[in-house]
């Protein structure tokens, strides 16, 4: 199924949405991404990824949280769905498994 495989950026965004918990929307994801990974992405890229993840059923969204600084406009908050969480778990376990099989580095040539 298409939704079960996700790209690296998607994985990062998914993780960030997960860790931001109830405060994940475009700008907060962007800032968190910059703070935590040092990656500076354009906001439109974040939106595109969020939309795609929602389409895949890994995220849910709802509108809310109007602020003065936004000119009274609401944000679209994203939350992790259980499918999203499962995908993250799977990705991690795959990585761990593969990582565990790396041969130990031998410096005693």
């Amino acid at each position: 199924m298409k939704g079960t495989y996700i790209g690296e950026l998607e994985e990062l965004v998914l993780l960030i949405v997960g860790l931001l918990y109830q405060d994940a929307y475009g700008v907060s994801v962007l800032k968190e991404m910059k703070d935590q990974t040092g990656r500076e992405l354009n906001i439109s890229a974040i939106h595109a990824v969020l939309n795609r993840l929602e389409e895949k059923g890994l995220l849910n969204s709802n509108m809310g949280g109007a602020e003065q600084v936004r000119g009274g406009r609401r944000k679209r908050f994203y939350t992790l769905t259980s499918a999203g969480r499962a995908v993250l778990d799977e990705v991690k376990s795959t990585r761990d498994k593969l990582y565990g099989q790396l041969p130990a580095l031998n410096f005693s040539v």
Binding site: V27, I43, S44, H47, A66, E67, R70, R73, R74
Partner: protein, 865 residues
């Protein structure tokens, strides 16, 4: 910091609002704004502005621009429409009476339109049943002759042979000619019978249905093909194939064997069958007469041959042909497709078929249109009123969030259901009732076969759409236009609705009035015409036609000896049965007039009223072929004054003398104005019939007795004796059809108007039922209760009678002029009669509702409040 520098650049912001899907705009715009202010603090205005612009440009991608997002705005349309249907049906059921009125009215109108459509279509799609329709052509040509400048439908016979031998691409061909009625003998029985001469390929080209026999039978020149009704006429139920018929072609009797029997030609066929004989017999006849002739010539092209190529190849023959001819001036050939042959028949001289009749088509189309207008108006009125009762539903739907478009589509769907039901009922009515009845009148064989009739499908589909929109759009738009708040606050709905329904109702009543006046006038005119003075004494007269010259003297002796005959006269022309228009010339004036060749005693026997001069004189031999007795119209046409010496006048370069003038007499039906008519005496040897004045007695019995005694004298022939006073019977019989149609229209129109009125009053009373309840409680009597009901419709009816009456005079006069040349003037009587009928129907309709109000128990209606 400048004031403008604390805000994102306006143009970029506007650009974003412009391109972005409104559904996504809020979150996107919010995010970029938030980012802008964040960057403003972190990096300053210039950086923030640049980033903002960059962000806006980066968002400019299709997924943010497209207005329909597939996963976010998926409406469940089927469920919605299902719901509309359900509500529609429930509403129909809840408002049974008005709905029934609507459906009935519409279906009547639709039934009429279907009949009109079928009839009109059939006149425009003549000859469409042939299998090879697309490849069949009549050969016509343009010519420039003294006698005919224009297009001609008959081709010189020699040219047809040349065309066949030298033009490539012709698959089949057939000439088609007739020599009028042929005397036909079957055993001892002698009758006359129409026959057509064709080439053997005729039945390969044209698709007439075979009942029995060999389709190729005409290849043998001794065989013929007859149609079903001819077969029935000669052989009753017996199988005709193999039987012998003798026919007289020219002067020679020939014996034919019947090789095949085909079904009678369909009504829409221009080509006839009756009896088909091999064309060689006609060729032989003309060879004996030693003459050249032209004939209708049909060809069937080979598949894929171009029409213009054929025409060019045929035109190539003309230079040679024209050189040999003295007067042959064929300009060019034009192939007339069979499918348009009848429609174009008016411009082809000597062609085949006849163009569609205009008058009946216009009459039928306008009747159908009348009905549709009536029914649609009814519908609009009633559904407006029905919608008013549903205002609360509309209000609530609006509050919940229905858009106006949705409300309109809901109303239209309900309308569609109703129109669909009416359509089914209408088709049923047309197929089961109107069409058979119409066929009866018009002598057609129209049928509704819905399957496999593409034009009808298209017509019905179009009609359904039209009715649905015409009747439903306005009420839907008005009903959905009210503001929810005013509906729920129960504000009074004032949208000129009362005025509009009044106008519609008035219009309906006017139409009804016109049709009633039309029908009444038509019946009245017929009555007047039936008792109109014919200008001569048509009673107690019998006419017998002598079947063969050799019996003339035998018949005379027998008739002179007959005691029941008071007076006897012989003649050539039977007045009232034949017309013979010829040009007369007086000095420089040329006028056409009827010329009747009669015997000496005819004017006296028919008792024409002599105004001036004298009748023919037996003692004057000079009267024969010289003297004329003319009617007043003749004198008027030439503006002549009668003189005792007689007036000389020229006809066909022979000089005649007008010796007497008689009062105008009807020598033909009343559909034609009397024009000039002259009687001329011809010698007795030319006479072919006897006219007898009978003594008092039953004229029909006298006719039968005479027929019997004369038939005994001429055993080989059928002897016809006819009653003079009955010669117009068929004319009046024909008019009965028109009368029935007009009567039917009037009844329909008044029914529809009455139904509309009933529906309107019914709803009116229902909405004011509490009003009536309170009045009753307060002690209103029956009259006072009825008053508001009458009052509302009094003006409408008054106006309708006034306008309808005056319009009717104009319209009906025009109609009558088309149908009959002699119409009684439209007096006050038929109009007041029509008004009375209309008022009576309206009064009865109103009274049904008034009775309901009178019987009403106020407690029932007021209990709720």
């Amino acid at each position: 910091m400048k004031e403008g520098q604390s805000k994102p650049p306006r143009w970029a912001d506007r650009f974003l609002s412009w391109y972005c899907n409104p559904k996504l705009l809020e979150q996107i715009q919010g995010d970029v704004h938030e980012l802008f202010y964040w960057r403003l603090e972190e990096h300053g205005y210039t950086k923030a502005k640049k980033s903002f612009i960059w962000d806006v440009l980066r968002f400019f991608r299709w997924s943010n621009i497209k207005r329909k997002s597939s996963h976010k705005t998926q409406f469940n349309n089927t469920a919605m429409f299902k719901n509309y249907f359900k509500i529609g049906l429930r509403n129909l059921w809840k408002q049974r009476l008005p709905s029934t009125i609507n459906i009935l009215g519409l279906s009547l109108a639709i039934g009429c339109s279907v009949v009109a459509f079928k009839w009109i279509e059939s006149t425009y799609t003549k000859d469409s049943f042939h299998e090879h329709l697309d490849d069949l052509f009549l050969v016509t040509h343009w010519e420039d002759l003294e006698t005919n400048k224009g297009r001609a439908g008959a081709t010189d016979n020699r040219l047809t042979r040349e065309i066949l031998s030298s033009v490539a691409g012709i698959k089949h061909s057939s000439r088609y000619g007739s020599n009028g009625q042929l005397e036909t003998k079957q055993g001892e029985k002698l009758t006359s019978n129409y026959a057509y001469f064709v080439d053997p390929e005729y039945l390969k080209m044209f698709s007439f249905e075979f009942i029995a026999g060999d389709p190729n039978t005409l290849n043998d020149a001794g065989n013929i093909i007859i149609d079903e009704s001819t077969s029935t006429r000669f052989f009753a139920d017996q199988l005709a194939v193999g039987k012998i018929l003798e026919m007289k072609i020219g002067e020679a009797w020939k014996s034919f064997q019947i090789g095949a029997v085909v079904k009678d030609k369909p009504n829409n066929s221009s080509l006839r069958v009756n009896t088909l004989i091999n064309y060689v017999h006609l060729e032989q006849l003309y060879a004996i007469q030693d003459r050249e002739w032209s004939t209708n010539f049909f060809i069937q092209r080979q598949n894929g041959t171009d029409r213009s190529d054929l025409e060019a190849a045929m035109n190539a023959l003309l230079p040679v042909f024209n050189k040999d001819q003295e007067e042959g001036s064929y300009l060019s050939f034009q192939l007339e497709p069979l499918s348009t042959m009848a429609i174009n028949a008016y411009e082809v001289f000597g062609g085949v078929g006849s163009a569609p009749p205009t008058a009946p088509n216009v009459l039928l189309a306008s009747i159908a249109l009348f009905m549709l207008i009536l029914a649609t108006f009814n519908y609009i009125n009633i559904s407006m009123a029905m919608a008013m009762k549903r205002m609360k539903e509309i209000g609530i739907r609006k509050v919940i969030g229905s858009k106006r478009k949705q409300l309109i589509s809901q109303f239209l769907i309900e309308n569609f259901i109703l129109c669909g039901l009416s359509m089914m009922l209408g088709i049923g009515l047309a197929a089961g009732l109107f069409l058979p009845w119409f066929n009866n009148i018009a002598g057609g064989d129209l049928q509704v076969n819905i399957l496999g009739h593409k034009n009808l499908w298209m017509f019905l589909g179009g009609l359904l759409m039209f009715i649905t929109l015409a009747s439903g759009l306005y009420p839907a738009i008005v009903a959905s236009s009210y503001k929810a708040i005013s509906i729920i606050k129960k504000e009074r709905m004032t949208n000129g609705n009362g005025l509009l329904s009044g106008v519609f109702m008035t219009f309906q009543m006017i139409l009804a009035m016109i049709t009633i006046v039309g029908a009444v006038m038509f019946i009245y005119t017929n009555e007047v015409n039936q008792s109109r003075d014919w200008g001569y004494d048509q009673y107690n007269k019998l006419t017998v036609t002598v079947p063969d010259a050799k019996y003339f003297e035998v018949f005379r002796e027998a008739l002179e000896a007959d005691p029941t005959i008071a007076k006897l006269a012989s003649t050539k022309t039977s007045i009232g049965r034949e017309l013979n228009g010829v040009p007369f010339k007086y000095e420089e004036q040329l006028n056409y007039a009827e010329l009747f060749d009669v015997g000496y005693d005819i004017p006296d026997l028919f008792d024409f009223e002599l105004l001036e001069g004298r009748f023919f004189d037996k003692t004057l031999a000079s009267d024969v072929n010289k003297a004329l007795v003319v009617n007043e119209a003749f004198m008027n046409a030439f503006q002549l004054e009668f003189t005792e010496d007689g007036i000389p006048i020229l006809m066909d370069s022979t000089q005649y003398l007008i010796v007497g003038v008689v009062k105008n007499y009807h020598y033909w039906g009343f559909d034609q104005k009397i024009r000039g008519a002259a009687m001329r005496v011809v010698p007795t040897v030319e006479h072919r019939s006897f006219v007898m004045e009978m003594r008092e007695g039953d004229i029909l019995a006298q006719r039968d007795a005479l027929k019997k005694s004369l038939s005994a004298l001429a055993p080989d022939y059928e002897v016809y004796v006819s009653v003079q006073e009955m010669i117009l019977d068929s004319y009046f019989e024909d008019l009965k059809g028109v009368r029935n149609i007009l009567l039917f229209t009037a009844i329909m129109a008044i029914t529809l108007a009455a139904m509309g009125l009933y529906g309107l009053v019914n709803i009116n009373v229902s909405t004011h039922i509490k009003d009536f309840g309170i009045r009753k409680v307060l002690g209103a009597n029956g009259f006072q209760l009825a008053q508001p009901v009458y009052k509302k419709f009094r003006n409408i009816l008054g106006l309708a009678v006034l306008i309808g009456g005056s319009v009717a005079v104009l319209v009906v006069e025009m109609l009558l002029e088309v149908i009959t040349a002699y119409s009684a003037p439209i007096g006050i009587l038929p109009i007041s009669g029509a008004a009375l009928i209309l008022l009576l129907v309206a009064f009865l309709t109103l009274n049904i509702q008034v009775a309901r109000v009178k019987k009403l128990n106020p407690a029932e209606t007021l209990r709720m409040d």
